[in-house]
């Protein structure tokens, strides 16, 4: 009898295959759904005009404007960064996308890094010093903050710091039309980044903090912590090398689970501060009903999120070697 189990692929390999299939399905949907819409450029252009087209002329125009060449060439076009041409911005979608992408990566990446780092250290330290007034205020404050959505924090920060105090700019990512040296330019970018970044950090931080604290509280009671203490290790080493490493795992796991839903907040925050990233591009495209841009941004950014989450699956394995056995089906 052939032992099938010997050939069972590991969870990681299975996930890679599943994610590739999902990516393919999304590309197909992005190809097929717009074709379900009634009407096309030709009907839009000549449908209500004075010109009456004969059947042959209409077919000719349709052949000229809609070069529908099937799914295979659509995928090749995608891979060659040929994502269509924007009606509203009169520019190739790939140019618009690649111009906006660095700003979004800067904003969202930095927000995640800061909130993961601060949330993790604050969570570990607060869990270590339990039952104090500090812990109670931190936990209550973070719980409250967890409930306040990005729209509200974003608008409130805008009203307070930009409108009333006038400390920070209310829109843009750098000082426009200024001929500055490289350092002044970087300072301008940082200055414009403060408010949107603060909004996103305030949104992401509570979840990371509460999760780290709760898992660290469990970890502290574990027996290996008593052992580490009995060995006479310095407290800092017990806390981080023995304790926090185990509290890190749920944080990374939950990050993967929440990332796809956290994109929403980033879109909204970019629109509030008119930050020139993908969110603002998407917002403007929606206002102008610019379908090629919407299609491009939606598809490519979803594929990027998919790739990040798949990459995280491999990070879990590095952080915790047990996981490959524990989570296998």
């Amino acid at each position: 009898m052939i032992r099938l189990s010997k050939y069972r692929p590991s969870r990681q390999m299975g996930l890679v295959v599943t994610f590739c299939l999902a990516a393919l399905a999304m590309v197909y949907l992005s190809y097929a759904l717009p074709r379900l819409l009634p009407g096309d450029f030709v009907t839009a252009m000549y449908g209500s005009s004075q010109v009456t087209l004969s059947e042959a002329q209409e077919a000719e125009l349709r052949a000229y404007y809609t070069n529908d060449r099937g799914f295979g060439s659509y995928v090749i076009q995608l891979a060659c960064l040929d994502w269509g041409y924007s009606y509203a911005f009169l520019s190739p979608v790939s140019h618009l996308f690649l111009a906006a992408l660095p700003w979004t990566l800067l904003l969202v990446g930095l927000a995640h890094l800061i909130s993961l780092g601060v949330g993790f250290f604050a969570g570990v330290e607060v869990a270590w010093r339990r039952s104090g007034i500090l812990e109670r205020t931190m936990v209550s404050g973070m719980t409250l903050l967890e409930g306040v959505p990005e729209i509200s924090t974003g608008v409130l920060l805008l009203l307070i710091f930009s409108l009333h105090l006038g400390w920070f700019p209310s829109a843009g990512a750098e000082t426009a039309y200024a001929d500055l040296s490289i350092w002044a330019r970087l300072a301008g970018v940082a200055y414009h980044l403060v408010l949107p970044l603060a909004t996103l950090v305030l949104a992401y931080l509570p979840g990371n903090f509460l999760l780290t604290r709760n898992s660290m509280v469990m970890v502290i009671k574990a027996r290996y912590m008593t052992t580490a203490r009995a060995k006479g290790l310095p407290p800092c080493r017990i806390r981080y090398a023995h304790g926090a490493r185990n509290a890190l795992l749920p944080l990374v796991t939950r990050f993967g689970l929440r990332l796809a839903f956290m994109i929403t907040g980033a879109l909204v925050v970019e629109r509030i501060y008119a930050y020139p990233g993908l969110g603002t591009l998407l917002f403007n495209a929606i206002q102008a009903r610019d379908l090629p841009v919407i299609q491009g941004v939606v598809l490519i950014s979803s594929l990027m999120v998919l790739a990040v989450i798949l990459a995280l699956e491999f990070v879990y394995k590095i952080i915790d070697p047990r996981i490959d056995h524990a989570r296998a089906f």
């Binding site: 719980t143 409930g147 306040v148 729209i151 879109l267 929606i286 939606v298």
Partner: protein
Amino acid sequence: MHVRFKETSLKDPLFMVGSGLAVIFVAISLLGPLLAPFDPWDMSFAPISPPSETHYLGVNDGGQDIFSELLYAVRNTVLFGFISAFAALGIGVILGASAGWFGGFVDMIVMRIADVLLAVPAIMILIFAAALFRPTPLTLALILAGFMWPTISKGIRAQTLSLRESLHIRAAVQMGGGGVYIVRRHLIPEMFPLYLIGLAAKAKTAMFMEASLGFLGLLDPSRKSLGRMINYALNFYYMDVWWNWLMPPILCLSFLIVSVTFLAISLEKVLDPRLRAALSGRTP
């Protein structure tokens, strides 16, 4: 699963605040049309007038009464959240319990689909669908539910795996109960307390999504929505109208989401005694 609701929940300030706010918002949603002094679509008032005796929150740039708009917007957001959360809960519970009970192939397929759905940003699919087809809010709520069930079904599956070994389930199997019968009559009713957490957590996500979609201008412009109101009011934020036009929808949205977040956290504490010790801030 046994929950001592009276002893635990009613003493928890988070639960009290959360449920108090929730009761207020549900009342507003149910009574909204009766409480509203004007028709929110009536555009016959003086545009951008400050709050007065007749218009409690003033009038917006289109000549509509902001207070009436707000009542309808809260109603729409709450309704969207509930529909989406209930649908996600239904799918998640049935698939999670089936995956946990039947195991093997069913389990693998359901969990793989769940993994993928968790990795796809739901907002992007919603934007795409909304931009292409302009679906009704109900359709959008159901599409969103299609992306929210995986977290619920993962929790339900884990609980099913531990319930499988309990005595009464084994007794039911001994008496000849089939798989569908056990899932339907034993597993699904048994895990009821878990559903409340799932419902609160998903209602939070769905309400936030509704506000964001409205904010990004993807919902029907004539439909009142908190996100839509914030989006319009934000265009005039530099004028002196922000406190009566921009703040009310912002505060409503915040309190709404704070309410369901508090409920979700406090219910989680009740159901997981280990977590209760961790969350209450005292060493047991």
